[in-house]
């Protein structure tokens, strides 16, 4: 762990945006200098054992001397112990963002994204490292940022302008633009506490973009607005990028990140994992999500330990498997569990980003504790709104199920799926049912009995993640279809010319 200076070290002098002249600094023409420069930024939080410890520690630290110099040094060091604990939330993050560039920071919840944004914005002081930027920086951190709930919208606009170092005269000139963009009508004269979260966000966003920033920081806030406002915001953001404004933003919407940003940083538990083109960053992020905690797997399984009566044989990918033995099923009979899963393409290359209409292959490996009759594996693809877009069982595909699987056996199902889906993020639930012998004959289900007698053996939520991106060069059209799914279908055209009288 890196040497950490105490968080109380005042470093915010470097971060005060108001120390920079409020006028827009124009860089020398022809150059694209780094507008924002983050150098070796670390942040650790000190968890104090009690409120008083906060005051006590610096005092004791003042009094402490190198060991052996004063007789009371040992006593002081003992008193200092246990007063606090350091938690590292950001570890040595460095990057640069150039003028007119859109930069994304992605990572799972709690990976330190928002902390990093707050440090760049200057509301948090880094424990080590520094942030430099040129010009005026405005930030939209969480909801309704910087609004005093008791003040009216108008008062807040002028106050925010004053805080950003905008001349009151200039702020008055821009007020109509701001009110117009926020489009919240007479609410502008009401206290902000009466606003809905959407209205707060609209006004906050309007203020931040209309006060001519050179650097704009957006933290996930746009997700609150309705689709029309979001579109308006993105259109405006693009125009700002063209004008040379630098935009740094955090989003969980990976599609937007890919479309909107050129560069991205992937954070994992405070550690920078990847810095580079946004598309690659999104892939890296997805790999990260697939392998939570424990890196690859503990695959020291003795091969052919139980006599696996392999009904069918197919090649298995070597790595990229996610160990799921620590996952808790949502439904379980205790008879079987999912050992590991994997999603890859037809050439068995593990990946979970697919273009629309590509074929994904999903391997699910089950391990039985009891004898199972006619086990059938299935999966459900859910979209961002948790809607089951597609769910299908092996027994619905015409595949021949193994009639009995003994206890202690391993069964691997290979599901193939053409991902004719809308672009976006999906999760995949996996599960296994067993079908009593009298409901299943050979290769088909005796339909009237199936619903009654199939047994849901095990079911897991969100074992896999899937990201669908637009298909490149699909017959000149960026998308294969509109709507949730691409249903198989074809078109025939007949041109019929009526004879003119």
């Amino acid at each position: 762990m890196a040497e950490i200076t105490p968080p109380t070290t005042p470093k915010e002098a470097d971060l005060q945006p108001l120390d920079t002249p409020p006028a827009v600094t124009s860089p020398p023409p022809g150059l694209a200098p780094a507008q924002v420069c983050v150098e070796h930024v670390s942040k650790s939080y000190r968890m104090w054992s009690s409120p008083a410890a906060r005051i006590k520690e610096p005092l004791l630290k003042r009094l402490s001397t190198p060991a052996g110099v004063t007789p009371w040094n040992g006593w002081i060091q003992r008193r200092r112990q246990g007063l606090y604990q350091d938690h590292l939330v950001l570890n040595d993050v460095s990057f640069e963002v150039k003028r007119g560039q859109a930069f994304a920071i992605i990572g799972r919840n709690g990976s330190g994204k928002s902390t990093l944004l707050q440090i760049i914005a200057g509301t948090l002081t880094p424990t080590a490292g520094k942030v430099e930027y040129h010009g005026r920086l405005t930030a939209l951190l969480e909801l309704g940022s910087g609004f005093n709930p008791e003040f009216t919208g108008r008062e807040n606009v002028f106050l925010n302008a004053a805080v950003l170092g905008v001349d009151p005269k200039h702020a008055r000139e821009r007020f109509d633009d701001i009110a117009g963009f926020a489009d919240i009508g007479d609410y502008i004269e009401q206290p902000v506490k009466t606003y809905s979260s959407g209205m707060q966000m609209r006004l906050a966003f309007a203020v931040q973009i209309m006060l001519d920033p050179d650097v704009l920081i957006v933290d996930e806030a746009l997700a609150v607005g309705d689709i029309f406002f979001q579109q308006k915001c993105y259109a405006h953001l693009r125009a700002m990028l063209d004008r040379g404004v630098t935009v740094i933003f955090v989003s969980h919407d990976l599609i937007t990140v890919q479309e909107f940003c050129s560069q991205a940083l992937v954070l994992n538990r405070g550690n920078p994992v990847f810095l580079g083109p946004a598309t690659e960053a999104v892939m890296k992020f997805n790999q990260l999500v697939r392998q939570p905690g424990r890196a690859s797997l503990s695959l020291s399984r003795p091969a052919g330990r139980a006599k696996t009566t392999e009904r069918e044989s197919f090649p298995l990918p070597e790595d990229g498997w996610s160990d799921t033995s620590d996952r808790t099923p949502t439904v379980t009979s205790g008879h079987v569990r999912v050992e590991r899963v994997l999603i890859c393409d037809e050439s068995l290359q593990p990946r979970n980003i697919f273009e629309q209409g590509e074929t994904a292959v999903i391997f699910i490996e089950y391990r039985t504790n009891e004898t199972l009759e006619n086990p059938s594996s299935g999966f459900t693809v859910r979209n961002g709104k948790n809607l089951a877009v597609h769910a299908k069982h092996a027994c619905q595909t015409g595949a021949t199920l193994p009639s009995t699987v003994p206890a202690g056996a391993t069964v691997i199902f290979r599901h193939e799926l053409v991902v004719g889906l809308a672009c976006g993020q999906y999760t995949i639930d996996c599960g296994l049912i067993s079908i009593p012998a009298d409901c299943y004959s050979g290769d088909r289900i005796i339909a009237d009995k199936f619903d009654q007698f199939h047994i849901r053996e095990v079911q897991y939520e969100g074992l896999l993640e899937l990201l669908i991106v637009p298909r490149h060069h699909y017959q000149g059209h960026p998308m294969t279809h509109f709507g949730y799914v691409d249903l198989p279908g074809s078109v025939k055209i007949m041109l019929r010319q009526e004879n003119e009288p």
């Binding site: 968080p7 005042p10 906060r54």
Partner: protein, 268 residues
């Protein structure tokens, strides 16, 4: 260590914010009440009237040995009390000041050190109204005031710096020590009695007189009264010492506040 007068520069630099916040704070006090703005005037008027009635009519108290008019006691009492109110209004609010404005700490880069300045200016407005009421009464009772009145602004100036310094200290420590806020509610009544408000400094026997001057309010209150009723005023030693010390306290408060500011966001 910042420049000793950095706080003056900072105040000027953020004047737009200070002006907006102060105006807002003053407006919000009586917003929604039926009499609205009248309360600003009504409050000191009623207080002065009640003091006059109780101390000059009921108790018939005379100010020390040199009492002249009956009204004098109430006027002198009110002058002292107005000064104390300025300080106490600020120190009661200061410890919670940062915690009440979390938005400014966490969401935007806000020049937090202006918050105590706003607190002082808002209190100063109330103070100015009270002083105006006092002056009107003074004119009614005594006619034209003595020429020494011109030293009044100077007499009060150290109090402003002193209050500001204390507010910065309380505001920065209050983030970490919730107890400060309770402590202040105890200290204010104590201050009322250990400051020469109900009595002149001369009423205190000699060995204790030095002790009472340790309270910087004493010399400021005395100097204010001197400028209204005659006396050594700004040439008195206790006041000169206070006047010299008060910029130091303001500077110390400002430095401490700036030192602590970086850790506010971590605690709130």
């Amino acid at each position: 260590m910042p420049n000793p007068f950095a706080y003056i520069n900072e105040t000027w630099r953020h004047r737009h914010i200070i002006r907006q916040l102060t105006r807002r704070q003053i407006e919000s006090v009586h917003r929604g009440s039926i009499l609205g703005w009248c309360w600003w005037l009504l409050n000191p008027l009623l207080m002065l009237a009640i003091y006059t009635f109780v101390f000059s009519v009921v108790f018939k108290l005379r100010w020390g040995s040199m009492g002249q008019s009956r009204m004098d006691f109430a006027l002198r009492l009110f002058a002292g009390l107005t000064l104390l109110n300025l300080l106490s209004e600020c120190i009661i609010q200061a410890p919670m000041l940062i915690a009440r404005n979390t938005t400014y700490v966490k969401r935007i880069v806000f020049p937090l050190h202006v918050l105590p300045i706003v607190l002082l200016f808002a209190a100063l407005f109330r103070f100015a109204v009270s002083m105006a009421v006092l002056m009107i009464f003074f004119l009614i009772v005594h006619g034209l005031p003595p020429w020494t009145l011109i030293q009044l602004p100077l007499a009060i100036a150290p109090l402003l710096l002193l209050t500001l310094g204390i507010c910065w200290i309380l505001a920065s420590l209050g983030v970490f020590l919730q107890d400060l806020s309770q402590l202040m509610t105890v200290i204010v009544p104590i201050l009322t009695f250990i400051s020469p408000i109900f009595y002149p400094v001369e009423a205190i026997p000699q060995p204790y007189r030095l002790v009472i001057y340790l309270n910087p309010l004493s010399s400021i209150i005395q100097c204010t009264r001197d400028s209204m009723f005659g006396g050594p005023g700004i040439t008195s030693w206790p006041w000169i010492i206070t006047a010299l010390l008060s910029p130091l306290i303001a500077w110390a408060g400002y430095s401490l506040f700036n030192r602590m500011r970086s850790s506010f966001a971590d605690v709130l």
